[in-house]
Symmetry: C2
Subunit: 400 residues, 2 copies
Amino acid sequence: MNIIEGGVTAPKGFKATGVACGIKKNNKKDLAIVCSDDTAVASGVFTTNVVKGHSLQVSMEHIKNGFARAIVINSGNANACVGESGYNDAKDMTKLAAELLNCEPEDILVNSTGVIGTKLNMPNIRSGIRSAVNSLSADGGSDAEEAIMTTDLVPKEIAVEIELQGEKVRIGGMAKGSGMIHPNMATMIGIITTDANISRSLLDKALKHCVRSTFNRISVDGDTSVCDSVFVLANGYADNDAIVKEDYEYSVFVDALMYVCTYLAKLIAKDGEGATKLIEVIVDGALDEDDAYKAVSAVAKSPLVKTAIFGEDANWGRIITAVGYSGATFDPNLTDIHLGNLLVCRNGCAVNFDENAAKEILKKKEILIRINLKRGNVSDRIWTCDFTYDYVKINGSYRS
Amino acid sequence: MNIIEGGVTAPKGFKATGVACGIKKNNKKDLAIVCSDDTAVASGVFTTNVVKGHSLQVSMEHIKNGFARAIVINSGNANACVGESGYNDAKDMTKLAAELLNCEPEDILVNSTGVIGTKLNMPNIRSGIRSAVNSLSADGGSDAEEAIMTTDLVPKEIAVEIELQGEKVRIGGMAKGSGMIHPNMATMIGIITTDANISRSLLDKALKHCVRSTFNRISVDGDTSVCDSVFVLANGYADNDAIVKEDYEYSVFVDALMYVCTYLAKLIAKDGEGATKLIEVIVDGALDEDDAYKAVSAVAKSPLVKTAIFGEDANWGRIITAVGYSGATFDPNLTDIHLGNLLVCRNGCAVNFDENAAKEILKKKEILIRINLKRGNVSDRIWTCDFTYDYVKINGSYRS
């Protein structure tokens, strides 16, 4: 597998663009379109939040047929909690894009990210869609990424190339992070494109498999499942024989998709609001998946753990305490905790560890916390970030 | 009901004290004893955390018989996660206190709060217990409170007087808050004394009833059930006829106990680490208790909501979003949200509210967030505090 340039436009037969249509201030890019030259098989994973943005609702309907031609995304306004007009506005976005791209509205997916409770400025959106369609380009991936960023500090895009039966197949991806001053829904978007020739059912299966352990395993604020929506479009422009069963080619494709999702998910956690460190929390030895997830998410959500890491404090007591209230079945007297490779707690008891060694580990930008419950053989993992002054600053500031 | 002076020593037949024995630095008071002149009926409520301090484990055994004479509490060291010696140290504390107070070790309750993973300095503890027993005083309530404080900024004590059958009955209480730099277990202690003459079973029932809606409804870091341990001792020194059934006298006693628990619980939330505002979150109209609790606790735990309140930002979108991921059954399109008395969201949609009015409400030191799910008639309530720079500062600092 090779890392290549081009983001979502790296795969053959995809174009993209990002334009400014006045939803964001200061003429910042705020509307993106990612478009396949022909209808592609498509799959999506959506937030489990009961509160769903109107644009998201429309996309959930449109993806049902399993095909899509293009995705329209605006930033600066989440198009959520504004009532029926929000749904109609999202529908109108798909109609206009379909008309300009000469396809069915059902083949257009739409996503809006930004403030909740404010209606979209539709004249701006319409002119934005028009100019976007006119500026679609085979190397527009970075422009599209720029247009979906909100308080993200770093752009998040990647592309890889693999070989299937000797044929080159590409997967490209971009994402915006859970870094919004505005409400933490519609805070994450992932767009993945591929020219692989793959059946819709296997594409769907591959995406859900990868999202579960990547986009659904990052936490910034404690709402662990930040997966608001992740879309994948596969247009089959590569010359590989269609992947129609879970064979070797499928596994190669899944590995590459997993790499793309992991890369983007870790970037989102690392770029969490105010974050200075990426924290990887791993729980091993759980009895079952439920226990592993409860334990790992309690630690990853704990403000006490996250502030201790910010302070480079080897305060493992907070880690075992979080596991203790997680609801996971475990025996504290069996539990081991490592910070990096340093054992700080054995069988639930303090270990006389070298504080300087701990300090060296905690000074790093990427911190690994490993908890072994020694009850079973199930593991889970979450990426999160430290909790800093800047988090409070960013999120305490006004909606303006 | 009258508010009176004296804290835990306000009720007849109780003495208390607080001394410094070198567990805390700078000769700060760090060991307290609250003692009844005779054996009292007793009840306790303990943390649900699977990880329990060794002292707590001993108290859970000793309270089983339903009687207690005294409670010994040290601050500065949680006596947790140090292995079997921690349990033996706690046992030794009860033996020494029993010997000096001339009672059975099983009549001594013990509680330790502070650092996890460090063994108690038993020579200091022993000398502390000796000097404490020698300095027990009928007006030592405030000294005892001072000795159990950790990073608490304000002492937390109260006493009330009621009349039962024309006889004066007193209830006194003290607490230490979830304000510790060290792990968030053993972060809350509540000690309640009363000279009421009441059966053990009704005392137990009254305590559990009151704790559920007070000490178990405050949140500082997100581990909502901060109830590490709350003890109540009733020595029957008042001359009321014994309360042996759920009659009018019982209800008067419960109301007074509820007042004491509510007062202390709100103080703990208000005095949460770095807090500048007390936030009361109320959910009405839930289908059942489970939904009401899920919704209210998700909002009270949300760092995005707590930072918005710190920033005095009427960001109600974060509130409905937290309800959305809480797991509660509800319909966003029915949900109303009030900040104070200002309606900011009706039926899940933005209301065009007056930002200045919102600002006036959010400038206050006590903020009320009311969410009406309009699905049923069940309510719940949690007190929490805002999330500030100082929270990060306090919790990012070293274990020293």
